[in-house]
C-alpha cells in the first residue's frame, strides 16, 4: 500500500478499523477529537458502531459492556478524560476483558492545558485505578509507529484478555506525516468462549465480573493476573537502541521527546560527544533489559521527558545504581529545545568527570 499523508489522530482511527475495531465509545476532549470524528464517519461504513457517550465514565463502561459481549472495541481521550476512565479500566482488567484505550495526552494537573505533554506516564503505567493491575502501554514516536501499534493492539488485547493503551502526546495526535497501513504479525487467538452473547439455551451462563468476595478467590484472580503480566514482560517489551554501541552518554526518552533527543545526539556527535538513546516503545512493560545491553563506555544516563520526571523512576530502577541518572524536562505543554538538551548533557558530563 502507498504512503498517505495523514494527521496522527486520523491515522490512529484508520489503523484501529484495520485492526478489526468495530465499536467506539468516546467523549470530546482536545487534543484527540479527530479520533472520534474520524470514527463517527468511518466506523459505520465498516459495519461498526460509533457512539458519543455522555461522559468519559460512561464511555469506558460502554467499552466494558461491549468487550464483555466479545467485540473489538476502543475508546480515546486525553489526560483529564483518562483520569475519569481509570475506574472502568480497573474493572476491565479485573474482569479480564480486551479493549484498546488511546490517550493523546496534554499538560496537567487538573484541567491543565491542551498542548502536548508526557505527564501521564504515572497514570498510564502505574495503574491509575485501584488494585494490582497493568496495561500494556505503547508510546509511538511517529505516526507510522502509531498506526502499526494501533492495528496490532487489538490482537494483543485479545491475546492477553487485557486492555492495551496507546499513549501519544498531543504532538503525535495533531501533526501530519506520511504513513503506510500495514498488517501486524499473525497471532493465534483463541475463540471468545467467555463472551456474553446469550446462552442460546445450550451452555451455562457466562458472567463478566471483577467481584470476588471470598479473599482466597480474589487472591487467585490476582495471581492469575500477575502470571499474565509476567508473560507480557517476557514477550511484549519493545524498544529502540539508537547510537548506543560506542556511547559514553545515554539518553532515555520516548514519543515526541525522543525525536528531539535524536537531533541533539547528532549535534553532540558532530562535536565529538558520543551520545546515544534508549527509546522505550512499551512504557509498560518497561524495557529494563535495554540497560543491560549498554556498553562499558557509558558513564551517565539522562531521562528527557515532557514532564518534571516520571519515567525517570523506571530509568533509575533499570540503571540499578550502575550509572548516575540525570534529568531534563519541560512541562505544561512546553517542548524541550534541542540546544537545551545538548546543554544538559554537556553539563552532566562535566559533573560526572
Amino acid at each position: 500500500m502507498e504512503k498517505v499523508l495523514m494527521k496522527g489522530n486520523e491515522a490512529i482511527g484508520h489503523a484501529a478499523i484495520r485492526g478489526g475495531c468495530r465499536y467506539f465509545f468516546g467523549y470530546p476532549i482536545t487534543p484527540q477529537n479527530e479520533v472520534p470524528e474520524y470514527m463517527s464517519r468511518e466506523l459505520p461504513k465498516a459495519g461498526g458502531v460509533f457512539l458519543q457517550a455522555e461522559s468519559e465514565i460512561a464511555a469506558i463502561n460502554m467499552v466494558y459492556g461491549a468487550a464483555g459481549a466479545g467485540a473489538r472495541v476502543m475508546t480515546s481521550s486525553s489526560s483529564p478524560g483518562i483520569a475519569l476512565k481509570q475506574e472502568g479500566i480497573s474493572y476491565i482488567c479485573g474482569s479480564e476483558l480486551p479493549c484498546v484505550i488511546v490517550n493523546i495526552s496534554r499538560g496537567g494537573p487538573g484541567l491543565g492545558g491542551i498542548q502536548p505533554s508526557q505527564a501521564d506516564y504515572f497514570q498510564s503505567t502505574r495503574g491509575g485505578g485501584n488494585g494490582d493491575y497493568r496495561l500494556i502501554v505503547f508510546a509511538p514516536a511517529n505516526i507510522q509507529e502509531a498506526a502499526d501499534l494501533m492495528t496490532e493492539a487489538f490482537d494483543i488485547a485479545d491475546f492477553y484478555r487485557n486492555p492495551v493503551m496507546l499513549l501519544g502526546d498531543g504532538m503525535i495526535g495533531q501533526m501530519m506525516e506520511p504513513v503506510e497501513f500495514r498488517d501486524p504479525p499473525h497471532r493465534d487467538l483463541p475463540p471468545k468462549e467467555w463472551a456474553t452473547t446469550g446462552t442460546g439455551g445450550t451452555r451455562k451462563p457466562n458472567i463478566v465480573s471483577s467481584l470476588r468476595l471470598d479473599p482466597a478467590e480474589l487472591e487467585k484472580l490476582n495471581e492469575r493476573l500477575q502470571e499474565k503480566y509476567r508473560a507480557m514482560e517476557e514477550n511484549e517489551v519493545r524498544y529502540e537502541m539508537f547510537a548506543t554501541e560506542d556511547a559514553e552518554f545515554v539518553f532515555v526518552a520516548y514519543g515526541t521527546a525522543s525525536r528531539i533527543v535524536k537531533n541533539a545526539i547528532q549535534e553532540l556527535r558532530a562535536v565529538g560527544v558520543k551520545a546515544g538513546l534508549i527509546r522505550p516503545i512499551t512504557l509498560w512493560p518497561f524495557p529494563e533489559r535495554a540497560f543491560d545491553e549498554l556498553p562499558e563506555s557509558v558513564r551517565a544516563l539522562m531521562s528527557v521527558e515532557m514532564s518534571h520526571g516520571q519515567m525517570i523512576d523506571d530509568v533509575k530502577i533499570s540503571a540499578n545504581g550502575r550509572w548516575p541518572v540525570g534529568f531534563y524536562g519541560r512541562s505544561g505543554g512546553m517542548i524541550p529545545r534541542q540546544q537545551d538538551v545538548v546543554a544538559a548533557c554537556r553539563s552532566m558530563l562535566v559533573e560526572v568527570k
Binding site: N61, G65, A69, T196, T199, G201, P205, I207, V208, S209
Partner: protein, 252 residues
C-alpha cells in the same frame, strides 16, 4: 399429583443472600418468569448493579455482567450496541440508579437505548448498612440522617420515573409496587410490557418497583410492606408514565 407451581427457569438454584422479608426475591422472580415466558432466557444478557443486588449475576439464569456503581445503563448500552438483537436488561437499586448513576440512566433514556431497566426503590442504601438515599422519605431516619431526612438540608426525595418520563427516548416508564399479591401481579405485567417494548424496538423501558428494606428500616417484614403502602405510595404514585402506544405527554 399435578404440579401447580414451579420455580422459574429464569433463576438459578443459587440461594439468595437477601435479608428475610426483603422484596428483591419477589422482583427477581418476576423478571425471571417474564424472561422465561417470553422465551428470552437464551438471548438475554443482564447487568447487575452495585448494592444489595450485586450478586444478581449468580441468580439470573442467563449471561450476566456485573457493573461498576451506577454504570449499569452504560454497560448495558455497550452490550446492546454489539448485540442489537439480544435482550439486554439492567437491574439497579436506588443508590445505584438515583444517586451515583443519574447521568447514565438519564442518557440511556435520552438516547432511547433499547434496553430494559428494573429499578428497585426501597428509599435507602441497603448493602452498605442503611444510609440515606436520594429517594429516602422526608423525616425517614437512616444512619446518615439520624434525626430524619430534613429537606432544608438535603432536599426532597427524587422521583425518577416522573423525571425520565420527560425524556422523549423513554418509551415505557411505569412505577409499581410489590407490597401485596394484587400489586405483584400488576408489577409482573409492567415488567412484561417493558421487555415487549424492547422486543418491539420501541426504545428505552424502565419499571420502578417500590420495595422494602425491613433490616435497615428497622421493621418486621409485614410492617415494612404496610410502610410502602402508607408512606411511599402517596409520594411515589403508582402508574404508567410512558407507554409506546400512548400519546406522548411532554410533546415530541
Amino acid at each position: 399429583m399435578p404440579v401447580v407451581f414451579e420455580k422459574t427457569k429464569g433463576l438459578t438454584d443459587v440461594q439468595f443472600h437477601y435479608c428475610p422479608g426483603c422484596t428483591h426475591g419477589i422482583i427477581h422472580r418476576l423478571v425471571g418468569e417474564v424472561l422465561e415466558e417470553m422465551e428470552l432466557l437464551g438471548d438475554a444478557i443482564g447487568v447487575a448493579p452495585v448494592g444489595c443486588a450485586v450478586l444478581a449475576y449468580d441468580y439470573f439464569n442467563c449471561d450476566m455482567h456485573e457493573a461498576a456503581h451506577g454504570r449499569a445503563p452504560a454497560m448495558a448500552t455497550g452490550v446492546k450496541r454489539v448485540l442489537p438483537d439480544k435482550t439486554v436488561f439492567a437491574y439497579q437499586g436506588d443508590g445505584d440508579l438515583a444517586s451515583i448513576g443519574t447521568a447514565e440512566i438519564v442518557h440511556a433514556a435520552h438516547r432511547g437505548e433499547n434496553i430494559t431497566v428494573i429499578f428497585v426503590n426501597n428509599a435507602i442504601y441497603g448493602m452498605t448498612g442503611g444510609q440515606m438515599a436520594p429517594t429516602t422519605m422526608v423525616g425517614q431516619k437512616t444512619t446518615t440522617s439520624p434525626l430524619g431526612r430534613d429537606p432544608r438540608h438535603c432536599g426532597y426525595p427524587i422521583r425518577i420515573s416522573e423525571m425520565l418520563a420527560t425524556i422523549r427516548g423513554a418509551a415505557f416508564i411505569e412505577r409499581v409496587s410489590v407490597h401485596n399479591p394484587a400489586h405483584i401481579r400488576k408489577a409482573k405485567k409492567a415488567v412484561r410490557s417493558a421487555f415487549e417494548t424492547q422486543r418491539d424496538r420501541r426504545g428505552f423501558s424502565m419499571v420502578e418497583v417500590l420495595s422494602t428494606c425491613p433490616t435497615n428500616w428497622g421493621m418486621s417484614p409485614v410492617d415494612a410492606l404496610s410502610w410502602v403502602k402508607e408512606n411511599m405510595i402517596p409520594y411515589y404514585p403508582l402508574g404508567n408514565f410512558r407507554h409506546p402506544e400512548k400519546e406522548v405527554q411532554y410533546g415530541n
